[in-house]
């Protein structure tokens, strides 16, 4: 049996919140940030960890990496108890918090890499080779000697990822790695991560708000809502489950009746003249081509577009569904 990269069992975390009630009196109440999470991540998996702000993502990650202790339940990361075996675990995981730097702000990247190599006890030749490889693949060469505080966000983030990978960790945890990056930087970072994960069989756990991150990097997603696990599965599975559909938007050449009754679709809305109509596609029942043919039989299509479901929307629907239950 191979060991799980992460095994959480009833993992929970409470925070004590004190607030003023009157002049001196203070009310103490316990807020549950993470509530009985149970999940496993196998070695080599790429998992997206998704949830609204304050849903408990960062708290979970801090428990997995040994920064916070669980209030109840347990977690094993790479077979280690994170808090108790923090230093052993630190040698085998790489962590990037998008909003907070792990680098030394007043040192150049090259110097940070050198210190990290020593901290992780890498033999100097091996360390130099690894750093050179990361510098090349993440294109860090041109700003290696610049102090971190003078780097652009995209440059710094690539530096952070390199720093987290110097010691070839078995598990890479990225907390919002692409937040604030421009489209090109995001894409380059994703490409690098895909290669790195595929080549070396590292496990990836990624929190993000960006649907493209999930689509490009994660074969499995976990959705957390109010500290609870709301979904565990694939992205298409999630889209199906909440009934979020791809939407076909058709612009017609002239006014037409509402396009009710096209097989495999549901009409969402139409403008008053019927010149632009939006139909939800049920992919298991039909194909876009069949739908287009059916519409063409009733009206002349001038233009069309397909809207992919938006992750935020999907997650919102999931939350709404879980509230109703």
């Amino acid at each position: 049996m191979s060991m799980d990269a992460v095994a959480a069992e009833g993992l929970s975390r409470d925070f004590v919140v004190r607030h003023r009630a009157g002049r001196v009196r203070r009310v103490r109440h316990v807020a549950r940030a993470v509530d009985a999470l149970t999940f496993r991540i196998a070695p080599g998996e790429s998992v997206g960890y998704i949830g609204a702000n304050g849903a408990g993502k960062s708290t979970t990650i801090k428990m997995l990496t040994g920064i916070l202790a669980p209030s109840s339940g347990s977690v094993l990361t790479l077979g280690l108890v994170p808090l108790r075996q923090r230093r052993d675990l630190a040698r085998r995981i790489g962590v990037v918090f998008g909003q907070r730097s792990q680098l030394w702000w007043d040192l150049p990247l090259a110097e940070s890499f050198r210190i990290l190599s020593v901290i992780h006890r890498l033999a100097p030749p091996a360390a130099a080779q690894r750093v050179a490889e990361l510098v090349e693949r993440l294109e860090l060469g041109s700003f290696l000697a610049t102090p971190v505080r003078q780097l652009s966000l995209g440059q710094r983030m690539r530096g952070e990822v390199a720093a987290a990978l110097i010691h070839r960790p078995a598990l890479l945890v990225l907390d919002e790695p692409t937040v604030g990056l421009d489209v090109l930087s995001k894409e380059r970072l994703r490409l690098f991560l895909r290669e790195e994960m595929a080549q070396h069989g590292r496990t990836l756990l990624l929190t993000t708000h960006d649907v493209d991150d999930v689509q490009r990097l994660c074969e499995r997603i976990l959705v957390i809502d109010h500290g609870r696990l709301a979904y565990d599965g694939t992205l298409p599975g999630l889209v199906d489950r909440v009934g979020a559909q791809r939407v076909l938007v058709v612009d017609l050449a002239g006014p037409a009746d509402a396009l009710h009754g096209i097989p495999g679709t549901t009409l969402i809305d139409a403008d008053p003249a019927g010149m632009r109509q939006r139909l939800a596609l049920h992919p298991e029942q039909t194909s876009a081509a069949a739908v287009l043919a059916a519409i063409s039989a009733r009206a002349t299509v001038r233009d069309l577009a397909i809207e992919e479901p938006d992750i935020e929307d999907v997650v919102r629907r999931l939350y709404a569904a879980s509230r109703r239950r």
Partner: protein, 266 residues
């Protein structure tokens, strides 16, 4: 030892980063030297007017001042930044520290070594050499050993106070002034004769906060002077013991502080 290499790399990078802002570094060092000079002036002015105070003459008082200042500035260079825990909490650097495979306390201390405080240490060393050359000490091997042990033991005691102050920051939010009063106050209390302190304060700064072990007690042992009430002269030989005890207490406090942060109960 690989772990020492890691600290050396950390401390070295810190020193280089600070020295790279050359003008600022020079001014900082000069400022810290000036501070030592002003405090020394205070001792000098007092003893210029009173020949003997608290059982010490000018030479002995200067010796106490020099030993305490040397110990304090070494501790300040190594651990003086530990009271900035709230800054680390806010900036998230404590999380970064916890994600590296080294003890958190050692990383925070090594990562914040402040070379600009070298000025005060160098000044204290000069004063120490002058004071020793003028002091009336009957040298024995034991007294030489005592002199050699006193600055490191004193530095260890003050460093432990900085660690304790840092640990307290896990509970106190934005109370750096309070803990600075504690650490710098102890440094000040250690730099003159404990005999001038009221008895309860003298006991406090010896048996609770062992500041008098850093300079005053070893000095009376070196000079063969009798101790004041509650402080027998043989205590002067016990600075290493005091250092071990205060470190044990400080580390317990630090551990509890870190456990408070991680929420590991307690």
């Amino acid at each position: 030892m690989p772990i020492w290499q890691a600290y050396r790399a950390l401390i070295g990078s810190r020193a280089r980063a600070q020295a790279s802002y050359r003008t600022s570094f020079i001014f900082d060092v000069a400022g810290s030297t000036a501070l030592g000079l002003v405090e020394f002036g205070e001792v000098y002015v007092i003893f210029h007017n009173v020949p003997v105070l608290g059982g010490l003459d000018l030479n002995a008082a200067v010796l106490v001042f020099a030993l305490a200042n040397l110990a304090f500035s070494i501790a300040d260079i190594a651990c003086g930044q530990l009271d900035e825990i709230p800054t680390h909490l806010r900036a998230g650097t404590l999380d970064a520290v916890l994600l590296r495979p080294l003890p958190a306390l050692a990383q925070l201390a090594a990562g914040d070594v402040s070379m600009r405080r070298l000025g005060r240490g160098a000044f204290a060393l000069v004063i120490l050499v002058v004071a020793l050359s003028r002091a009336d000490i009957e040298w024995t091997p034991a007294r030489s050993a005592l002199l050699a042990v006193t600055p490191p033991a004193g530095a260890a005691i003050f460093a432990a106070l900085f660690v304790a102050a840092g640990a307290a920051q896990f509970w106190l939010i934005d109370a750096q002034e309070v803990t600075s009063a504690f650490t710098y106050g102890s440094g000040y209390a250690g730099s003159f004769s404990a005999a001038v302190l009221p008895l309860p304060v003298r006991v406090l700064f010896t048996f609770v906060i062992p500041a008098t072990f850093t300079a005053y007690l070893p000095t009376i042992a070196l000079l063969g002077l009798p101790g004041p009430v509650a402080l027998p002269a043989w205590l002067g030989w016990c600075a290493p013991v005091a250092a071990v005890l205060i470190w044990a207490a400080a580390l317990l406090g630090w551990r509890a502080g870190l456990r408070r942060y991680t929420g590991a109960g307690g």
